[in-house]
């Protein structure tokens, strides 16, 4: 059994509703987190993201100025100043399947439909900490691999094409981002 040392993690919580921020703060502190930064809109969250370099972002979807979806898209810019790889947990009252798909395509790592529970939040955090997925970059997408499962029985069209062309190491963007702060 594994435990998370929450006191070593930095969180950024973004929700325009003060009651929900209070709930999230209470849950995260109870898990053991010490650093929980809060923003009430997407623009402030993006600024705080660059400034604080959080390890995990938890954001609502519907917010003023720009919403959680736009926040995720702005974080997931491979050439951005900040770390584009941080796990993003989308916490939202939207629970329809099409919304989950839209969030996934914006680069969201995990989706947690409200009502929130301690167990649901803990499991999402555990998943992003223990089971990070590789990132995929295409002409239209940059974010965690959207294929969580390998389905050998899949018979539809294959969107990813081409054999392996080249493998190389590059300096960590995370390192660059953090050294810039």
């Amino acid at each position: 059994m594994y435990r998370i040392d929450f006191n070593k993690l930095r969180f950024l919580v973004c929700d325009d509703n003060p009651h929900m921020r209070r709930i999230l703060r209470t849950l995260l502190h109870s898990f053991g987190a010490r650093e929980v930064n809060e923003a009430e809109d997407g623009a402030t969250a993006l600024e705080m993201y660059t400034h604080f370099s959080p390890d995990i972002v938890i954001t609502d979807w519907a917010m003023p100025i720009f919403d959680g979806l736009e926040l995720a898209q702005m974080i997931r810019q491979p050439e951005a100043k900040g770390n584009p790889y941080a796990p993003i947990i989308m916490l939202t009252g939207h629970s329809e399947k099409r919304r989950v798909t839209v969030a996934r395509d914006a680069g969201v790592t995990e989706f947690l439909a409200k009502p929130i529970s301690a167990k649901g939040l803990y499991q999402r955090i555990l998943n992003v900490v223990a089971n990070p997925r590789p990132f995929i970059k295409t002409k239209t997408y940059f974010g965690p691999d959207r294929r969580r499962n390998t389905n050998t029985a899949y018979i539809g069209p294959e969107r990813r094409i081409g054999g392996e062309a080249e493998i190389f190491q590059q300096p960590s963007l995370l390192d660059k981002a953090r050294s810039a702060v």
């Binding site: 059994m1 435990r3 998370i4 040392d5 993690l9 930095r10 325009d16 509703n17 009651h19 209070r22 709930i23 209470t26 849950l27 109870s30 898990f31 053991g32 390890d55 609502d60 519907a62 796990p87 939202t92 009252g93 629970s95 329809e96 399947k97 099409r98 439909a113 409200k114 009502p115 929130i116 529970s117 301690a118 167990k119 939040l121 803990y122 992003v128 900490v129 223990a130 990070p132 590789p134 990132f135 995929i136 970059k137 295409t138 691999d145 990813r160 094409i161 081409g162 054999g163 392996e164 062309a165 080249e166 493998i167 190389f168 190491q169 300096p171 960590s172 963007l173 995370l174 953090r178």
Partner: protein, 194 residues
């Protein structure tokens, strides 16, 4: 954690995409727990949430009042973009928060109201009673929360309102298949989940 040196990133390049992998930067926060470790962070967090529950009634009063004010503004000035946005936001917050605060029926009614605002082709043509019944139902559920048998009544009220709202939405969207599909699609979350 954020001060640790991040490991190098490996990039595999294919014809249509790149696969970018880095050793888990958060691995250091994971530790194996011993058998005798009885610490339960989820139980601890649930207890902390229960400790907040004394404030939930007041929070729900605030949320329900916000919705009533948003609807009053709509009645006064019509469904302009700002008024519509505020009413949707207020209902959407109740939809997301109310079950956590112990008001699952209010969350279900707010969900139904959100669906009307989101999928009605012309909000000015929605029967005023449909909005009024939703807004008043949320106020009543919040106000009468502690009364005997109110949970059963609230649950039945939310089910009936949802049925009426869905019947209306299906009728007005009969020529809008993309909305019809969204209206009829099941939610990923059970309606009365605590």
């Amino acid at each position: 954690m954020a001060k640790d040196k991040a490991p190098a990133i490996q990039v595999k390049t294919y014809a249509s995409h790149h696969v970018i992998t880095q050793p888990n930067p958060l691995k250091k926060v994971l530790r194996r727990a011993e058998e005798k470790d009885l610490d339960d962070p989820i139980a601890r967090a649930e207890a902390a949430l229960a400790g907040l529950s004394g404030e939930f009634k007041s929070w729900m009063d605030t949320e329900a009042e916000r919705l009533s004010k948003a609807y009053a503004a709509v009645l006064k000035d019509g469904f302009d973009d700002d008024a519509c946005e505020e009413m949707f936001r207020a209902a959407h917050d109740i939809k997301g928060d109310a079950a956590t605060f112990g008001y699952p029926a209010a969350a279900a009614v707010a969900d139904s109201l959100c669906r009307i605002i989101e999928h009605a082709p012309d909000l000015e043509k929605v029967p005023a009673e449909l909005f009024e019944h939703h807004v008043n139902a949320i106020q009543a559920i919040v106000h009468d929360h502690t009364k005997y048998d109110s949970a059963t009544v609230a649950s039945e009220l939310s089910r009936r309102l949802r049925r009426v709202a869905d019947d209306y939405l299906v009728q007005v969207n009969r020529n809008r298949p993309e909305h019809l599909e969204a209206i009829l699609a099941p939610s990923l979350v059970p309606s009365d989940q605590p």
